[in-house]
Structure formats: C-alpha cells, structure tokens
Amino acid sequence: MNRIKKQYLIFVSVIVSLGLVLTGCGNGSSEASGDEGVNIKFSWWSNPHRTEITKQAIEMFEEKYPDIDVTMEYYSWDSYWQKLATEAAGGGAPDVMQMDGSRLMEYVNKGQLMDLAETDIDTSGIPDNTVELGKVDGTLYGLTTSVNAQLLISNPEILEQAGVSIPEENYTWEEFAELCATIYEETGVHGTPNEMEQPAFLDYFARTKGENLYASDGESLGLSKETLTEWFQYWLDIQEKGGVPSAEDNAAYQHNDHSASPFIEEKTAFNWLFLGTGGEFEKNLGKPIKRVLLPEWGNDNKPYPLHAAMFWSMSSKTEHPEAAAKLINFLENDPEVAKIFENDRGIPANSENMELVAENTEDDTVQRQNEFMAKVEEIATPNDLAPANSSSTGDILKNIAHEVTFKKLTPNEAADKFMQEVNQALSEG
C-alpha cells in the first residue's frame, strides 16, 4: 500500500512539474488550429489599430483558403525585433514577417530570407521602382507593402500667430532655421524638436549635399566630415536662438515615442517625420496639420529618398513556401484587404489598390497623404538599404548629439567622434 502511494505521489509530482515546464514554453497567441492542412506563422510589429485590421485580413484569408491556418504574432517595434531575432536563432522564424529597410540587409546577409521572385507572388500591380526597393543584389527579398517619405508637418495656427508661412517653392536650410527662430521670437513656441539625433534626417541632409549617410558598400560612412560638422552646427545655432527646445527638454524626449512629441502639446510649430505616422500626430494634436516638403527638396542633387514603409518577407526556412506566398500575395494585392488597411502601413504599393482606397475611404487624411506622395514621387530617387551592421548608429548619434546640445563637444569634435565610432561598428559587424 505504502509503495503504491509512493509511486502515485511520484507520478503526480512529475506530471505537475512537467505541466509547469510545458505551459512555460507554450505559445499564448496561437489560435484554434485547423483539423487538416498547413499551419503558418505570421508576425508583424503593430499598433492597436493595425492589430485589429490585420486580424480582420487574416480572418478573410482563412475563409478563402480553409486549408491554411495562420498563427499570428504581433508586438511593439522594440519587442518585435528581439522576438524575431530570438525565434530565428532557434530556427523557428515566422514563415511570413513584416520587415523594415533598416534590418532587411542584416537578415539577408544571415541567409534568413527567401527569394520571392521564385514564388507565385504577383508583383504586376506594383511600379517597378517600388519593387526594386526590396531587392538586394538583384534578388527580391522583401516585397514593398507601401511607400513612405520624410516630411515636415506644421501646426498652421502657430504659424499664423507668428505671422510666417512656409514657402511653396524650394527653400534653403538657412531659411528654415530663420523661420524657427522667428516663430520662437514671435510666439514663445519653438520651431521644431531638435532632430540632430536622427540618422534618417542626417541622411537626408547629406543627400542635399550630394552625399549619403553610408557608403554604397555599407562598410563605412559615406558623408564627409564637413557635412557632419555642418549638421551639428546647424542645430546648435537653431538651439541658441530658441528655434528648438533646450538641451534638457530635448534629452528628456525619446524621439521614437511619438505620443511624447512636443508638437502634440503645441510646444513646437513643426515636427519632422515619416508620412505614414502623420495621421497619428494629427489625431493626437486634435487639429488639422499641414504637410510640407523638407528644406532643399527641389535642389539639383534630387535629395528626396523614396522609402519602402515596410516589406513582406518570407523565411528561408519555411516548410510551407506555397502557403506563405499565398498569404503575402493576399495581403499585398487583395482589394478587400486594401480597403481595410487603407494607409495604415503607408501609401499602398499596389497602384490600383491605392486608388481604390482613396475612392472608398471616409478618412480625408488618406487623400492628403496620397496628394503629398504624388508630389514626392515626382522628385524622389530610391533610397539605399541600411547596411547590415548599422544597428548601433542611432544610439551613437543620440549620445553625441546630446553632448553637442549640452556643449560638452564642439561640432567639430562631435563629427570626429561620430565617424570613428560608426566606422568601427560598420567594419566590425
């Protein structure tokens, strides 16, 4: 009797412990799996609205293809990349994933992505130069979901109070700096947040000088020390005149936290951002905003970059390439999906869908975004993908920019330091 009891106890405790271990490893987000057919995993970085509409799209997909079951995973931007890298390390990368231009190269170099040209995905509805954006050495690793561009948004009320307006035609960096200073003098509101620490905008600045942030081989910086020094000096001068918030206020504002932007609290007249996020700013501000092209947009160097807002990519390790291709095709080209997505991921890459969205939407932001993008497409040239080892550039630039704003480094010293640190990161890998 004793013996049986003992064995029973052991049995129970082992079961319980295994249960604990297994639930720990369990996947919380998987949903009812189909009885037959295949299961593919699909991950994306999200915001609450995007989560909702993407789930709707997946429901439609599963209705259309009842033998394919999609497991969904969605995270915030930061967590997404942690999770994706960890899953890829464990050999369990999602079959279909949302990819960003800053990471595409890295995943390609590590052999994680599939050549999409070998699948049945239909790219005929997408302009060639847009498809081109997702190619690395001629191989299509990312299918552009939508396009995006940098711009300035302005708060028309503040500009009116200050008695200034932004020129319709091309304007210079100097004119923009003066504009910011005047706004501060007239209203006490700063011109714009200090964007010294943002690599994407430094890249644009370099492009107006006929340079690029990175060299084309991706193994070193592409801009000259003069341009870099000028960039630091430019923002420092604006700061001296009150055109941007103080060094302290700037340091307390994490620039990737859009909801914390001083623009939303009407503490700045402008905000520099990507077209796709404008709607979010407009909603948070609660007033209509105006979208403006950046300084020197019309200069001879054709500085405006055409960006892919994001890509659909397929894991090179996928066991169900056909099902994954069907999903990408559906998300990219299905008109009903496009109507749900609208411009959430940027201006749709599929031209017909873009027009369809514009005709059907009740959100006039879409209309204004499309008009703006049409202007950009006339002047823009495609942008290079960020090199594989550039993930630390953002933090390096941020720290050095802070030291410049607090006057611990002169623009000249800052340029030296930036070049040395970034070049080292790029060459090491």
Partner: protein, 311 residues
C-alpha cells in the same frame, strides 16, 4: 500504553531490512519527486542557460548565425569600451546612493508604523501596497510626467519662486530621479524591519530606561544592534537588486542624457538586443556576476564586525 516500545522496535527492524534492499536513490525518490518542479526548472532553464552564457562569452554571436570562438576578445574589447566604464560609474553611483537611502527610509517608516495605534493595520497596508508597484512600467511613466519641465514637481517648487529644471533631461539630476524612485520602493524592506522590531524583547528597553537612556540612545544601543541581522539581509538583497535595475531606466531615461543613467544591465540589454552582440553581452553578464559576488562577499566578510546574533 506499554505496547509502543515493542511496535517501534519491530518497525525499525523491518525498515532496516527494507532499507538495505533499496538504493539511496530509491529511498529518496519521494523527495526527488517533490523537488522535481524546482529541479527541472533549475536544470533546464537556469543552469543550462548559465552554462551557455559562459560559452557565449568567448564567442562572437549575433543570434542569426552560429557562434564563432574568439577566446578572450570580448573581454579585452570590454576593457577598452568607454561605455562599459561609463556604465560601471553610473551603476556604482546609483548603488552607493540608493541602497543606504532606501534602507534608512524603510527603517524610519517601519519605526513609525510600529506604534500600536488604532487602525495601524490599515495604515501599514496603505503605505506598503503602493510601494510594491514602484518597479512597474506604469509607475515609471507616471514618474516621468511628474518630473517633466512643466510637471507637478516644478509647479510645486514654482510656488516658492524656484524655477525647476527638466529633472529627467538634466545630466546631473536624472540619476537622482531614478534614486528617488528606488527609495519609494521601500515596501518589502519595511515589512521585514517591522517583523524584526517585533522580535526585540521589551525588557531590553525597560533595562535601558532604568539606566536612564534617552529614546535616541536606546535606538542606537538597543534597536539597531538587535536589528543588525535584518539590516544585513536588507543591505545584501538591496545591493544585488540595485545592480540589476532595468525597467525604470528603460522607460524613463533610456540611459541618457549623455549616458548619465546608462546602468549596467541596460547597457547589457542594448548590446544584446539592439546591436545583437550576444557574445559581448554574455561577457558583460559574467563580469556583472563577478562584481555582484565581490560586493556580496565583502558585505559578508564585514558582517562579523557589525552584525549581532546574540539573543
């Protein structure tokens, strides 16, 4: 009632024969069974990961490709890494200021809440509960708003005509904001102190009173020595947890301004998950293990001079 002796004797001899037939493993099987949940977790989740970390520390590993052996390279790079030394400096400053501040705060509040007045249980709960969530994301976000340029703190000091800085954006005050948030998480220490205070026998205070000791004197001569094992425990746990502070930095300052709050674990996280330098991060974590072990060892060694285990 005379039977027990006999039965006991029989039982013992029976057990003896059975015991000799069983291996020690079989005899302890039940215990292993009960230990299994913890043991499996420890073996597979903790020990396994730790050993793997030791291995990774000597490799170049970016998560996506297989690790390649680089020997001591990570450690020699760390030695020359300005951010590493910056993070050591920031973390030490944080530990040295926040640990004693939190100890003193929790002891003072425990002394206040030790008084037997009506409804003391309610006061204890009300003061204790909020401090438990001090390390959470929500509180960190609130804290950030509290110390903004136009936040409540500056509105308050504004009443006295002082123009407060942007506490979080100022390189010299940002770390203070984080230390203050740590002090506010006094709850668990306070509860342990309260339990300790209850253990001090009343006659010691009576004796002190008869000897004419003032209240301050009896605090330093009776309360503090009697509490010293608890101070020791709280000091040790507080030091270890302060070295590992992360959430608050991640949410409130992001390591800035100018790396003034680039605490060690946050830097380790950046290396691992922002730059994908897993090998480098593994090496950093081993160095942290050594640092924490050294500090704990030091606290243990000095304890015999100030921790009082009598009565």
């Amino acid at each position: 009632m005379e039977a027990p002796v006999k039965t006991l004797g029989i039982k013992r001899s029976r057990q003896k024969t059975r015991a000799s037939l069983e291996t020690p493993f079989q005899r302890n099987l039940t215990a292993y069974g009960f230990l299994a949940p913890w043991l499996i977790g420890m073996l597979f989740l903790t020990i396994g990961s730790m050993l793997f970390t030791f291995y990774l520390a000597f490799t170049d590993y970016d998560l996506l490709t297989t690790p390649s052996w680089t020997g001591m390279e990570n450690f020699s790079n760390i030695w020359q890494d300005a951010n590493f030394w910056g993070s050591i400096r920031a973390t030490l400053l944080y530990v040295v200021l926040s640990v004693p501040a939190r100890l003193i705060a929790s002891l003072l509040i425990a002394l206040l809440l030790f008084k037997e007045v009506r409804g003391i249980g309610l006061y204890r709960a009300l003061i204790y509960l909020p401090s438990l969530i001090g390390g959470s994301v929500g509180v960190s976000i609130g804290w950030k708003k509290l110390f903004a340029t136009d936040g409540p703190i500056n509105s308050f000091v504004g009443i006295f005509g002082i123009e407060g800085p942007n506490w979080i954006g100022n390189p010299s005050t940002a770390i203070m904001v984080l230390i203050l948030l740590s002090v506010w998480q006094f709850g668990s220490e306070m509860v342990i102190f309260l339990a300790g205070l209850k253990q001090i026998p009343g006659y010691l205070y009576e004796a002190a009173k008869i000897d004419g000791a003032s209240r301050i004197r009896s605090f330093f001569s009776v309360t503090l020595p009697m509490l010293s094992p608890i101070v020791f425990f709280n000091l040790l746990m507080g030091t270890i947890s302060s070295f590992m502070v992360f959430t608050q930095v991640y949410i409130i300052t992001g390591g800035g301004p100018m790396n003034s709050t680039l605490f060690y674990v946050y830097y380790l996280y950046q290396q691992a998950f922002t730059y994908y330098n897993m090998g480098y991060a593994a090496a950093l974590s081993i160095i942290l293990l050594v640092i924490i072990a050294a500090f704990s060892g030091f606290i243990f060694l000095t304890s015999k001079y100030w921790v009082n285990y009598d009565v």
